[in-house]
Subunit: 401 residues, 2 copies
């Protein structure tokens, strides 16, 4: 009935969200989402902070209109926070965004015309694919291996497509959990500089490290202002506060500010000030340490259960951090087709094909989230999933015999 | 240095925001903004609610990822709130947005292709003009008189441009303070139905009525789903919570949801739940009544001061509500050129030309905000402004003699 815009008329909401709705039944063991564990959310501390700031002398300022760039109090803390990560910036080099996702949206708004090409890892964060679609851009996948992007493939595609943007989640990637090596990052930054392509370094998971060594951020290797670093407090403090930050050259950040001015004027000062005080009062590190211990146990449980139950022919990543393990089934599997059977057995995951730029790729893959289930549930869920996979393998053998 | 998108490369932030920065000096009497008075913000009540909900059994849910459509608790209250305004809807007919502005952005996202035309009142809310630019659409102004849009002009422009959207602020408009009559609204809805144009009824100010009779909302005259009603709690509760709602047909709202999913996943549950509880606990009406008394006094003070000080030849609206009075100076005035002189005398306003779709229109107009200054300051500010205008008139007379 309505004459919708080209960008939106064929979009029908992410498949994941529809699955997530299914998985909210209490009997389901869900490896489908990407949510922090609710027991990891620092409710008491946030209550304390909210109470203090809303009862304080600046309460009316916190409820009044504010600056698009972000609250002063938060921006000062963010500069310190980024400095700890090795990023030297100032308040003009950052834009507060309502979740990392708004950062991605504003980057696309600032750079992409209809028909432009962006590069992204094969596979990549599915919401980025959705966002790029709303800007009527084409996403081309770059091949990846255990060290990061395949540099020869990246160079070919930079040459061929002259993309304005390369989108990456280089640390504990969504969906694979993998981390690009330092050498790989350096090569990516050098190549993108050569081909005049801006890199989005999306880093929601980097602080959730359970093992292995720190790898320098691409932003710290960027002497020409071609990397925009986006990090969020969604996975480390609380998702629903929707506080994240984009960091880059002043000229570029200014365009994100203009984009945000139109989009929503500014993020709520209440949630911004909560994060500012959270950082100021020193809650960040101890809460993160506590949560890392919980998540590490869950990652270990999932890896142990995969090792224990999965039949040979099933491969999976062993991430040093983040929230996800990526499973590759034998070629003939279709994880999307298998999902209703899994849900019938009360286990949920996300079919990996959602994360591939090219439709039809990755049909035999799935993403498993381990942060939001207890070790016991993880063990049970992986056992059930493994049985299902073994059943399918048997049937396949029968048919092909 | 960067190859920005066409939509953003020539945008340089709204002029208003730059002016607002100037006007934050304490000695300035500012009629420039559009902000609620800080003494009208219900800090204590919001503190109480935040404390309760963050200490309650659902605190972890409030900090966890939520639905794009909005929190259940808020959506149920919003359906009731809209029913009080005469709008019958259900939770599938509403989308929570981060301020009314996000509603405008998502409507443009859902409807506008590059090169499309939208109609808006002459003059209109300047941020809408900015948003339409980011969607590379053209805004054509429709003439208006004291009853609302000039219907013959509207029909001519609907015929000529076949616009997808008509943008209106029909109650206590920003910037003029004027209200469309019931007959005018009915004629607009009928015409837009005939020409297949969706109407945005933007209503941030409608609850701030200081006199006159209620006028039915266009949404209540809409039997074919062509009106999207957007209202916000920014002016009635607190701007920085960024809680507003868009209401329309399910099919259309679904597209706003998809647009928001890409833009920022969802609005913070904390701010949404604060508004839900605020409505549930019955704070809305009494706080509004208190604020209306304060704003009515300020409107009256400004009108009295304008009557007292302004020379003949200066015209202004006498709004029944909202936050603004619109001043029309003699034709030869340039309010933008005069602004530095006003600021030198410690008074600020916004030049009216910012609110016109066509560049160069309205040079002799200005918008005055009365909500954010005491009656004393209003009297003093208008007196100073009137003196400045009289000086300019005298000089003009000398030159033309």
């Amino acid at each position: 009935m309505y004459d919708f815009s080209d960008r939106i008329k064929n979009l029908s909401g992410s498949a994941t969200r529809e699955i997530l709705k299914l998985t909210q039944r209490p009997e389901i063991i869900s490896f489908a989402g990407g949510m922090p564990a609710e027991e990891c959310l620092p409710c008491a501390v946030i209550k304390e902070i909210a109470n203090d700031i809303l009862g304080g002398a600046n309460a009316d300022k916190i409820l009044q209109y504010g600056r698009t760039e972000g609250c002063d109090a938060l921006n000062v803390r963010l500069v310190e926070y980024l400095a700890e990560l090795g990023i030297a910036t100032d308040t003009e080099g950052i834009q507060v965004v309502s979740g990392g996702q708004q950062g991605l949206d504003l980057m696309c708004k600032a750079f992409l015309n209809k028909g432009d090409t962006v590069l992204a890892e094969n596979p990549t964060y599915l919401a980025f694919l959705q966002i790029a679609k709303t800007y009527e851009a084409d996403v081309v996948g770059v091949d990846a291996d255990e060290n990061g992007l395949v540099i020869s493939d990246l160079e070919n595609k930079l040459k061929k497509h002259k993309p304005k943007l390369l989108y990456t989640v280089p640390t504990f990637s969504n969906p694979t959990g993998k981390t690009y090596s330092a050498e790989n990052r350096k090569a990516i930054v050098e190549l993108c500089l050569k081909y005049d392509t801006v890199i989005i370094e999306d880093d929601p998971y980097g602080r959730l490290r359970y093992g292995g060594d720190e790898v320098p951020l691409m932003k710290t290797m960027d002497s020409h202002g071609i990397v925009v670093y986006i990090t969020s407090f969604s996975k480390t403090v609380a998702p629903s506060l929707r506080v994240a930050v984009a960091c880059g050259e002043k000229e570029l950040i200014r365009k994100l500010t203009i984009g945000k001015q139109g989009a929503d004027v500014h993020s709520p000062a209440l949630t911004q000030t909560i994060i500012a005080e959270y950082l100021k009062r020193g809650y960040f590190a101890p809460v993160l340490d506590r949560n890392i211990a919980i998540y590490r146990e869950r990652r270990d449980s999932m890896l142990a259960a995969l090792d224990r139950y999965m039949p040979s022919g099933v491969e999976y990543t062993r991430p040093d951090g983040g929230l996800f393990i990526w499973v590759t089934l034998p070629e003939y599997f279709d994880a999307k087709e298998m999902l209703p059977d899994a849900i019938a057995r009360n286990v949920a995951y996300i079919q990996g094909e959602e994360f591939f730029p090219k439709s039809g790729d990755g049909k035999n893959t799935m993403r498993l989230n381990f942060s939001n289930s207890s070790p016991e549930k993880i063990d049970r869920g992986i056992s059930v999933l493994s049985d299902l996979i073994k059943d399918k393998m048997r049937k396949h053998k029968e048919i092909t015999l």
